[in-house]
Symmetry: C2
Subunit: 367 residues, 2 copies
């Protein structure tokens, strides 16, 4: 028997892919950790691979450093006709594979833009890839059949295949994913150093610090590997951010030292600060918030509620009954405050109606 | 007639304070912008001040640079017995007041730790301060009666008065509020510069970039003033963050240039990267997420839903019916994905029950 697809590695991505393919093609699964394999099989993700059976296409859903060595061994054994991997950085992995395997024309690198801060088959979901970009990164030697098989896989998983050269993919993820990770970790590292000196400071913290350090909780082992593999693309961005902050520190130092005699200088320094904040506004407007739309595409309706069970449900029921299309929700809880503010993002054309309907239903709409 | 409290400035903070004091003490309101005053009065926040009537206590809820000049003029006219302001930075304002007024013993600086990215009386709420810290920053010359009146005001507003020297307050807000603002603005400025070169990169962005740039949308005029006034405390923190990022950029440069011959060096570099990520984990754990609790105090239940109206309401109704205590919610919308993942934060002891109840109610619990 020949499997349609062999998935090697039953972590979050491998298991989700198997679940997404279920019922469409015949999927064999393998993981060198029998426990992880058992969890994936228990979730109904394909059948166990007997380590001999050939496959039309094999996907290496493995940690970055395991991809090239695993490919060399299994390809040597003629396990599959075409191959792909799902690495979160592409150029370095491609280089490794070409170094180790010589000819790697049967393989196409790819990267589904979906994930979770949770890992492992437990966190897998059949719909993880639905509607998300799945970047295909053929190398100059990748065969047409390997590219075709990888594109088909992405489509079967419900994703949107996008072809990008490996170098361009790596630049893009360096900006939208790796730079924010380094920034959040560095900010949290400063919080650690300063918070140890003045622990009481953190009692005054609010949603700004919470949001900007959220991804600092990510797995250090995973991220050390990702950043190391994409170092060439990430380094200049981290340096650009550091330079921007050094300039800001210089401006702030100047303002701190300022005397009335240096009023002209103070004005120039203040302009520097304002320019940074204005650039920040403009940069933020480039970030897609939902479905490729941006902040300005939504209006915010704020409802103050006592901070106790059932309030969130109450607001949503009132909104649903009024036919309001709630696009997103943010809950602001502040340390020690016995109430919260629920922010509902709605289409601007519906915001007046939403505020009126919630007020009529007895909720405290605060603006 | 003598007003109990005169509030000068009917922006978000002044109007919210008036609403919070309503029914407890007699409040007179003033704003040099008649439009803003009218909105505040229209919301039921006290009565208009006739500009002659004296007050027991006056609160200056004004932009930072307007506090000292306004105090000098009104104090000269003997308007109030004691005074306070609600400035978001304290030392510079205190210095300005002492420079302009000579004796400022009738005044106590203070800072309610509450706000919104929205400004103006429209966004005001009677419960804005409830349960939040309200920092009192008496100077060495502040009289006991001015401190007492300011503390009473904070309590009447439902806040928790905390006494801190101005310098210590400024260090704390520099860390928990001003540094994250500069970091987010600088990150978004890099996104702007790079996004202009490669606009397609941003199509691949996800929740990490969204969260870490959210506050980059803040008002540049307001923040230029805040950062300028607290420059002395903010500058070293911004420099520490820049240094941390420069070190990271150096490590990444080293890894990008690395050759197999330099394997020992590569190991040292990788350790540097891992150390940063681990410090980030530890720093994040210091950040209170809700009621002074931290990330680890909650378990996450993830529900995948089709991304269409009514789904959020449905999940909350199911949770409420099962008696689940949903502490917080995050909605992950990814560009182009026709579904979303709703993350419910629940007490760890309730997470199994919550997952089971939602599954039983037909929802797709994904981990």
């Amino acid at each position: 028997m020949t499997a349609d697809v062999l998935i090697v590695g039953t972590g979050l991505i491998g298991t989700s892919l198997a679940l997404a393919l279920e019922g469409q093609v015949d999927v064999a699964l393998h993981d060198r950790d029998p426990g992880a394999l058992a969890v994936a099989l228990g979730r109904g993700a394909g059948r166990a691979w007997d380590q001999h059976e050939p496959a039309r296409h094999a996907v290496l859903a493995l940690p970055l450093s395991a991809i090239a060595p695993t490919f060399v061994v299994l390809h040597e054994r003629g396990v599959a006709e075409t191959w792909s991997h799902v690495a979160s950085t592409q150029s370095a992995v491609q280089r490794d594979i070409e170094t180790c395997a010589g000819d790697a024309s049967v393989l196409c690198g790819s990267h589904p833009m979906a994930g979770s801060e949770r890992n492992g088959p437990d966190a897998a979901s059949a719909t993880l890839f639905a509607g998300r970009p799945w970047v295909l990164c053929p190398s100059p030697t990748t065969s047409a059949s390997a590219l075709r098989a990888t594109r088909r896989l992405a489509k079967l998983a419900g994703a949107d295949p996008v072809e990008l050269p490996a170098a361009q993919h790596d630049l893009a993820v360096a900006l939208v994913s790796h730079l924010p990770q380094v920034a959040a970790s560095a900010l949290a590292a400063v919080v650690l150093a300063e918070g140890r000196k003045n622990p009481a400071s953190l009692d005054l913290s609010g949603p700004g610090l919470q949001d900007s350090t959220r991804i600092a909780a990510s797995d250090p082992a995973l991220w050390t590997e990702i950043l190391g593999h994409n170092a060439r693309a990430v380094a200049p961005l981290v340096r650009a951010l550091a330079d921007e902050l050094h300039r800001a520190a210089g401006v702030l130092d100047g303002l701190a030292a300022g005397t009335p005699a240096a009023a002209g200088t103070a004005e120039a320094l203040t302009s520097g600060l304002r320019a940074l904040l204005v650039s920040g506004n403009e940069g933020r407007r480039l970030v897609p918030v939902k479905h490729g739309e941006h902040d300005s595409a939504f209006a915010v309706v704020r409802v103050a509620v006592p901070d106790r069970p059932g309030q969130l449900a109450g607001v949503f029921v009132a909104a649903a009954e009024a036919g309001i299309n709630v696009e997103d929700v943010r809950v602001e809880h502040l340390a020690g405050r016995p109430r919260g503010v629920i922010e509902l993002l709605v289409p601007p054309s519906e915001s007046r109606q939403a505020a009126a309907a919630l007020t009529a239903a007895g909720w405290d709409v605060v603006g």
